[in-house]
């Protein structure tokens, strides 16, 4: 075992202590922390000559539409602003960062921000109802489709909500590490009134 392995093994994710609480929720919702995803902040103006090379490095066209996203295999690109994206890739991936750095060629910036946020997968038939307890964005599939990525408040915490299907049952909530414990506490608490609710079982 190398020093790096030890360092990785001893990491404690922001929501490590919530694992048991998440498992005890009604079956209608499933909460799971996707810990330690590699996250890169990509800054680039959309008119930049590097956009083509960046899209090639990502394996998918950079999403320019507000509140959208793009996926290429295990690489997820979330639109955070007109010149800002969050690139999420599997734990320990260093290749995407190297490729993006080479593609950006000084026209923008690629920064590893993996420690800044953690990711909570909120899924299940009642996932949308749970988020609706604390979010003013309409996540109904009628208006909110797979691939949308909105930054907003969830129970007053700033989050990005990435919609992963067209039936309102699969979301990723990306939240700052310092707010993660609060948000987990709120999510678990929001399920309490539904513990006996037959529609949530």
């Amino acid at each position: 075992m190398t020093a790096d392995d030890v360092a990785v093994d001893q990491r404690v994710s922001p929501l490590e202590l919530w694992r048991a609480e998440f498992k005890a929720l009604p079956a209608g919702v499933r909460l799971r922390e996707l810990a330690f995803l590699t996250q890169l902040s990509l800054r680039l103006v959309p008119e930049s000559p590097a956009v083509a090379a960046v899209s090639e490095a990502l394996g998918v066209a950079l999403p320019l539409e507000p509140c959208s996203s793009a996926v290429a295999g295990e690489v997820t690109v979330l639109w955070l602003g007109p010149d800002e994206w969050l690139v999420m890739t599997p734990t320990g991936d260093g290749e995407t960062e190297r490729n993006l750095r080479a593609a950006v060629q000084g026209h923008g910036a690629v920064i590893d921000v993996s420690g800044q946020r953690t990711t909570v997968s909120v899924s299940g038939p009642r996932a949308r109802d749970l988020l609706a307890h604390g979010c003013s964005i309409d996540l109904h599939p009628r208006v909110n489709h797979a691939g949308s990525c909105v930054q907003t408040h969830l129970a007053k915490a700033g989050v990005a909500i990435w919609t992963r299907d067209d039936s309102g049952t699969d979301f990723w909530v990306v939240v700052r590490t310092s707010f993660a414990d609060y948000l987990a506490r709120w999510l678990v608490d929001a399920c309490v009134p539904h513990r006996q609710d037959p529609q949530w079982q």
């Binding site: 507000p66 007109p82 930054q151 907003t152 408040h153 700033g158």
Partner: protein, 92 residues
């Protein structure tokens, strides 16, 4: 709650935004030549109309971008929003 239309993200609740004061206040072309009085006017003095007012807003919780808005200070009605590189719209 009042909705404010972000030029990028669309209508969002007002708590996602912060106010940035009067828009189109140009930085002095020759700051070194300004008198104390002119500096004070540049730094502190702003219009305070009742009615249409061009203002700066930032979508703090969303895309975190600054934009301009024309708001009726009497009714809080947002009559127009526009990106920083877009000209101020003419509203009668």
């Amino acid at each position: 709650m009042q909705l404010i239309p972000c030029p990028w993200c669309g209508p969002r609740e007002e708590v996602e935004f912060h106010y940035g004061g009067q828009a189109h206040v140009a930085y002095p072309a020759a700051p070194a030549d300004l008198s104390d009085r002119e500096w004070a006017e540049y730094v502190f003095f702003r219009d305070n109309p009742k009615g249409l007012f061009a203002e700066r807003w930032v979508h703090s919780t969303g895309c975190r971008r600054w934009f301009n808005a024309i708001r009726d200070t009497g009714t809080h009605d947002f009559r127009a929003v526009y990106r920083p590189n877009e000209p101020k719209p003419v509203i009668s």
